[in-house]
């Protein structure tokens, strides 16, 4: 936690520069020599106080497992594999490093890279922040570059386990978010309102992300996005309201599927097949995120509640309403908590027309299409009990048990089997250690 330094020497530096300028007026030659030596003296002072850059980091080592082999539990849908009855360390374990540099008094740059389980480009997809920040006034920030996706309360620090009480952000709420960052700009202005602070933020840009897709192991997705949020902090309370509009710019690679649906022979036995092509469209379809949340922390009790409506025009990523509620209490260095979560798909079922004749190959094809369009719902509820134990001032040990209720066709947030029924209830256990440095 060693940081910002340049400003520490500001008063002294300012005085020396002023005295330099005054001397320049009287005797330029001697003064410039004097000034050079002063610059060195000044940087020596800055060295005494520290540096203008810092490297910080955070990480988690976590182990988790379930009581089923029919589904794989993953942290979110950006992961291609999860844990089952055979436990694993790779859904939650990660290591983040952050470099901060104060370039001038008003310019700052931050780069953050997080090693984590990701099926895409390990370097590029895991680079979450790389921006230049300009602070022209004390309460105004403008940032340009790669920025965290600030759509919900925790979405831009999901990786920083040390910053929240749970083992991972609530699954029903954050499990469906594969986008961690975008390239663009944001502007945030802070106002004093009453005794609290109101922060208004707007952002826009382009997101490129790689996710496990329905027809290939990896789907290169991209979208244009823009959003706004208002956060009000007053004493122990923090309230947030946010809206984000995203427009998908690319389709998953469903060429072979598309030509099969267009095939005249297929359409002869399966009237209306070609019409299903449009239901697979992702490009130019919008997804809108509206959310509201409230967090309370008085040092002893902590509570958090958040609700969202994700309105999607994409059948492969259906419309969802979700929410969670958590309450915890600090007892010395232990914080036991309860977490409840719910997520439900609200999309209309896509009508897949029947076959004229029960041709076996076509039956298999039709059920695959039906599964792809209608088998990606989210119908999930859970209750979790856990405890965070702050063993040291930058290390926390956590343990959590969760019980999930899953509807049939409601397991999109999990890695689903190619076929066969999925369990109605699953227990997930997790233990881990979160740290920062």
């Amino acid at each position: 936690m060693s940081c910002r330094f340049q400003e520490a020497g500001k008063g002294v530096v300012g005085e020396r520069v002023r005295s330099c300028v005054m001397r320049l007026g009287s005797n330029a030659g001697a003064a410039s020599f004097f000034c050079v030596s002063l610059v060195f003296a000044t940087s020596a002072l800055a060295q005494d106080l520290g540096r203008n850059w810092s490297i910080k980091g955070f990480g988690t080592f976590g182990v988790s497992g379930t009581d089923t082999d029919q589904l794989e539990y993953r942290r979110d849908i950006s992961q291609a594999s999860g844990v089952t009855r055979s436990a694993g360390i790779d859904i939650d374990s990660r290591l983040g490093l952050q470099l901060d540099v104060d370039i001038t008094d008003t310019l700052h740059t931050t780069v953050q890279w997080v090693a984590r389980q990701h099926p895409g480009d390990f370097f590029e997809q895991n680079l979450d922040w790389a921006f230049l920040r300009w602070r022209p006034a004390a309460d105004l920030d403008l940032r340009v570059g790669r920025l965290g996706f600030d759509v919900f309360m925790l979405s831009d620090y999901r990786n920083v386990g040390y910053a929240y009480p749970w083992v991972r952000p609530p699954h029903e709420f954050y499990g469906g978010l594969p986008v961690y960052h975008f390239d663009g700009a944001d502007i945030a202005h802070r106002f004093q309102v009453g005794d609290g602070q109101l922060t208004l933020k707007g952002f826009g840009g382009y997101a490129y992300y790689q996710v496990p897709g329905p027809f290939s192991t990896l789907f290169d997705a991209s979208s244009a996005l823009g959003g706004a949020s208002a956060v009000y902090e007053l004493g122990n309370w923090r309230a947030r309201i946010g809206y984000v509009y995203t427009l998908n710019l690319s389709d998953p690679p469903f060429g072979p599927l598309s030509s099969a649906l267009d095939n005249p022979t297929v359409n002869a036995f399966w009237p209306g097949a070609s019409g299903l092509k449009d239901d697979f469209k992702v490009k130019n379809a919008a997804v809108q995120f509206s959310s509201i949340g409230l967090a309370y922390d008085d040092g002893e009790w902590l509570g958090q509640i958040e609700g969202a409506y994700i309105d999607s025009e994409v059948n492969l990523y259906p419309t969802v309403a979700n929410g969670y509620f958590s309450i915890g209490r600090r007892l010395g260095s232990f914080t036991p908590y309860v977490l409840l979560g719910i997520a439900e798909t609200l999309n209309e079922v896509v009508d897949v027309p029947p076959l004229l004749l029960p041709v076996p190959q076509l039956q298999a094809f039709r059920s695959a299409v039906d599964q792809a369009l209608n088998g990606n719902g989210v119908d999930e509820k859970s209750v979790s009990l856990g405890v965070r134990w702050d063993v040291y001032e930058n290390i926390a040990v956590k343990a959590q048990w969760s019980h999930y209720w899953l509807g049939q066709n409601g397991t999109q947030l999990w890695v689903e089997p190619a076929s066969g029924p999925t369990p109605d209830q699953v227990n997930v256990w997790s233990v881990g250690v979160d740290f920062m440095f």
Binding site: C3, L49, D100, D139, A163, E393, A396
Partner: protein
């Protein structure tokens, strides 16, 4: 035993009890409230109430835990978790940490905007006490 132990315990507490929040003598603020100091040290505001730029100076010594406990009623783990959210989302950096009272006094004497804290007996006439935390 109990009767003897109680005053002894109180004395132990008294030794650690007082922290002085200090500013530069040229700082026009005569005194600050606990909430104003909290807002500055938690990065909620970057200025003093009169609008001047504030430079909070933290410590890496044992006094740090005591300062935040008295100021915010929270242990240092919670302060660190709070800053983890702010700094790893690229919003701001936590205050610079200096090793001890001596180093804090030096920077506060030399910088008009600096605000730091030291154990009360170390707050001499070269700095202004803006708030006492008992």
């Amino acid at each position: 035993m109990r009767i003897l132990a109680l005053p002894l315990l109180l004395m132990v507490f008294a030794v650690h009890a007082e922290v002085a929040v200090i500013g530069n003598l040229r700082n026009p603020s005569e005194a600050l409230s606990a909430k104003q100091v909290q807002d500055i040290f938690l990065g909620r505001t970057r200025t003093f109430p009169d609008g001047r730029f504030a430079l909070p100076i933290d410590q890496s010594s044992d006094l740090r835990g005591e300062f935040y406990q008295k100021l915010t009623s929270r242990p240092v783990e919670q302060i660190n978790a709070y800053w983890a959210r702010i700094m790893f989302t690229g919003q701001a950096s936590p205050p610079l940490q200096l090793p001890d009272d001596e180093a804090v006094l030096k920077v506060v004497r030399e910088n008009e905007g600096a605000i730091g804290y030291v154990s009360k007996p170390h707050a001499d006439k070269t700095v202004r006490v803006l708030l006492q935390l008992n």
